[in-house]
Symmetry: C2
Subunit: 560 residues, 2 copies
């Protein structure tokens, strides 16, 4: 493929705090250059920008201007860093966090550009968790009516997804809801900006939009939730686009932003986790890819359809065309470790780490690694940011059990790492029990760089770990999709084999440690079952929200 | 009482880390001078002094030399600080932690003076918790046989007490056990050193030595535990001495140590918590005195005998002659807050406290106090040092529930304070449910100085709090007992009325806060019931001990 040897594609990964562009050689996936743009507004959690309207608990918004700035800055900077002529770029692919979703006009204008003072006009970031009550109602009604799509989502849809967030908008700010001619994933909105064409990708429509077997939930169902919600699906897309497909061609305006050639291929929008499986060359059935960062997302293709309790979803063609794509996830992983380091590690430790020129994480990991398994006497639940699988309940919260007056920070740090590994094991066991075998466990994401954590996972899972071979998994995966959209490869599998990479058996389980972890895991399961019913954790959440509401503002962030 | 106007008594309080002497005017309890001696060996927890034999988990020892040093240094320093002529001192009283107990020769020589290399030759401090397995056997056998004394201890004796610790010595170091001609409370041992007379006080014999209705557990019962344990009570005392009684007269040698007049009255030994009720002038039926420091001890006299589940004990004449003395306790209170500040508060907080010239405790209390009740969304179990009442299980450990990525140090600090208040409420409710009314709640101990914590307790308990009027409660209480022993007052009640003091209604409950706490308390009770069975917490403790044992040393600290 001589043409590919001279050709490049761009992958752009839109994350929670920044966007990253990477320039990738089409022939072999070599990464020629990269650049990052930090979002100026970061995550909008406390107050709206500008006039400072205060948001309620569990809100999380983003600004579309930050996304556009990534196209204007990170893309040309990555090309410059690669030192290539932009004319050699044949395609652009993107991936986004999901479900990150916004209300827009029929021409794509985000409503927050028109009424920036209204919280519900802004894009709701994936981790906006204030629509739990709406998700609960959707789930209860769907279960009652036996809606056929419900088991495709493990029996529960998430408060993070399109319908829960949309229902929240309707009921808390009906005016914004009425003005929203489109309710669109940021993954598709950005493609619209690049190509001038509105498309809807099969991945977010399936995983986040409850699109199954050719249709969305019925108008009848939606009307039963709220009569004014009956027409919600008119705001969504109905002609879905395949992953790796060509969404359109780069417009002159977008070419101006990106400094890329007008008219190059732009791939159909996609999701960060799902494109990563291509970057790891792990798109065959049974290869579970865990993208471990602030949270963890598990994606796996399979040739069989099963109803896995508590999975995030199963979607036909959801990762690669022709297979069933499964998704599961853990809401808090690296986020929990970062929270612990920021809020619970004393000066004696931070000072010692500084003296030794290491991060606090590395110091804690080093001290924790010196302990025998179980010597801390602790077990924790990793629900500080809720539970996405297999309980699907964002109103759960963290638990730690077994602290004594001798418990030290490295003990708790280790227990939290173990808790996330136990959470992964619950997911793997649930898939296998449902008849969907997990044949290889592939790790991607920032946490691959933590050897102690990787070994804990190998031991807890009793499996070898494969590691992705790129530090820019999602961006590389998007570039692979761009190569397919540009016609350089026939399909995602072939492109992934040529451009993606992973290292097998990078960590092997230690039998003795694994035996010891089995005992702690039994306690984790017991805690999981006890607190998983949500009775106490929901009560504490309700008490908290009432207490905060009485002291400050109403909880939903909307001023009538 | 003109004589008393010129007379003074000395109270000496032997604590966990130091001993304190106070010089008190007999007529009105005015404190003329005080001095503290820090124990050179502090608490011996990791290794023995000198040769460094390593101790197992949960061990805690003290050195008798530290106690004698208190007599040599703190007593003369307190008299010097008071600026009085030592000839005006008419009596000396002491109180001790309990059960702090040691093996000794028939002449009173501590075995650790002879064989300092053997862990079991040393005094076991009250918080030595390595005899839990022995306590469990004692409890199981006593329950099986229906021993009549068992209900007097709430249905369980503690691993802290004389029989459990004694059985541990027998079974782990029979040679030391055989050489121990006496098994004696430090409270009585120190009196022996002062007077040359071996006495045994009714208080420790009753609360820690299972002496009820005139006798110890039967030889038959002890033989069933272990045939070699049958003669254990021969090492104890059988002629018990009343509280406030005269144990003997200061010997020439002890007069030399203390620089006090030879021959002055020395009161019968006593326990820190129990003498404090006299210092607070709270020795009438229904006055519950909570001595709140590193741990909390609750003492209360009553005219009625009842079997209160999980109380530490009820002893006839156990606080003042003629009434039933009740004791309950919380194993960890201030200890838990100190552990949290030392291990879980980041540099940003410690730096801020330093800048503002306040303690980290004060900063956290200030931040915590600014929150509405329940706004942290947390509930914790205060079992970091086990549970003394009402579960009587030292192998329990701490639990915290409800943490999110937004949880801050002041949230956890507040939740821990509340947990200890909830623990107190469990105790008060258990007494009342058993038909022993609590009519006044009187707080003594170092934590009275924390207004935020006091208000939490008033709100959680829904009761006014009375506060002791002295900062040296135990030492003042010992001085009051010395005044009775010296004949200056007819009984403890009269002496307490003249020399003790407290402030009533110092904190009043806020009805709205109390209502809010009721909801959190319901969750605390649910956690208490769930984890109180010990299944999970014992499993974690067992895993921990095995893991530590395999990595370092066998758990019981004895080298065969």
């Amino acid at each position: 493929m001589n043409a590919n040897a001279d050709s490049y594609v761009i992958g752009v990964d839109f994350g929670t705090l920044s966007g990253r562009a990477v320039v990738v050689r089409v022939s072999d996936g070599a990464e020629a250059g990269t650049a990052v743009h930090e979002f100026a507004h970061r995550v909008i959690e406390d107050r709206l920008p500008g006039d400072g309207v205060r948001l309620g608990p569990d809100w999380a918004l983003q600004s579309p201007r930050d996304w556009l700035d990534v196209l204007r800055t990170a893309v040309p900077e990555a090309v410059a860093a690669a030192g290539i002529d932009p004319s050699r770029v044949i395609g652009l692919g993107t991936d986004f966090t999901a479900c990150t979703v916004l209300p827009a006009r029929a021409d794509g204008t985000p409503l927050c550009f028109e009424t920036p003072e209204r919280p519900h006009a802004w894009p709701k970031l994936w981790k906006h968790h204030a629509a739990q009550a709406h998700a609960d109602r959707i789930n209860a009604l769907a279960a009652e009516r036996g809606e056929p799509w419900l088991p495709r989502y493990g029996g529960k849809i998430s408060s993070e997804w399109e319908f829960a967030k949309g229902l929240q908008v309707l009921e808390e700010d009906p005016e914004v809801y009425a003005r929203a001619e489109r309710w669109i994933e940021a993954a598709d909105w950005i493609i619209w900006q690049l190509t001038g064409v509105e498309t809807r990708n099969v991945c977010t429509a399936g995983y986040k939009g409850i699109f199954q077997d050719g249709s969305y939930p019925s108008a009848d169902f939606l009307a039963a939730l709220n009569p004014d919600f009956a027409g919600f699906i008119d705001k969504l897309g109905h002609d879905l686009s395949s992953l790796g497909g060509l969404a359109g061609r780069l417009t002159p305006e977008a070419a101006g932003w990106t400094k890329l050639p007008e008219g190059i291929a732009v791939a159909v929008g996609n999701v960060d986790a799902h494109v990563t499986s291509a970057a790891a060359d792990a798109v065959r059935p049974g290869q579970m890819v865990a993208i471990m960062g602030t949270s963890t997302c598990h994606v796996m293709s399979s040739d069989r359809l099963a109803e896995v309790p508590g999975m995030c979803g199963v979607v036909r063609d959801g990762i690669v065309p022709g297979l069933w794509g499964y998704e599961a996830g853990q809401s808090g992983v690296g986020d929990i470790f970062a929270w612990f380091v920021d809020n619970s590690v004393p000066a004696s430790y931070t000072g010692r780490a500084r003296q030794r020129g290491q991060s606090v994480h590395d110091l804690l990991a080093e001290l924790a690694a010196a302990q025998p398994v179980g010597a801390h006497g602790l077990v924790a639940l990793d629900w500080h940011n809720g539970n996405r699988s297999v309980l699907v309940d964002h109103d759960l919260s963290g638990v730690i059990v077994g602290q004594t007056l001798g418990t030290r920070p490295e003990d708790v740090y280790r227990a939290l790492i173990e808790a996330t590994a136990f959470g992964t094991r619950v997911i793997v066991e649930t898939f296998e029990a449902a008849g969907v075998p997990v044949e290889e466990f592939v790790v991607a994401g920032g946490l691959v760089k933590n050897p102690f954590l990787m070994q804990v996972y190998a031991d807890v899972l009793r499996r070898p770990l494969s590691l992705i071979g790129s530090e820019q998994g999602p961006a590389l995966g998007s570039a692979i999709h761009a190569a397919v959209a540009a016609g350089a490869y026939d399909d995602i599998q072939r492109a992934a084999a040529a451009m993606g990479r992973r290292r097998e058996n990078a960590y092997l389980p230690d039998g003795r440690a694994a035996d010891a972890y089995d005992r702690l895991y039994a306690e984790y399961r017991a805690l999981h079952d006890h607190f998983g019913d949500g009775r106490m954790l929901h009560a504490l959440r309700a008490i908290r929200n009432e207490a905060r509401g009485s002291a400050t503002e109403p909880p939903n962030g909307v001023r009538p």
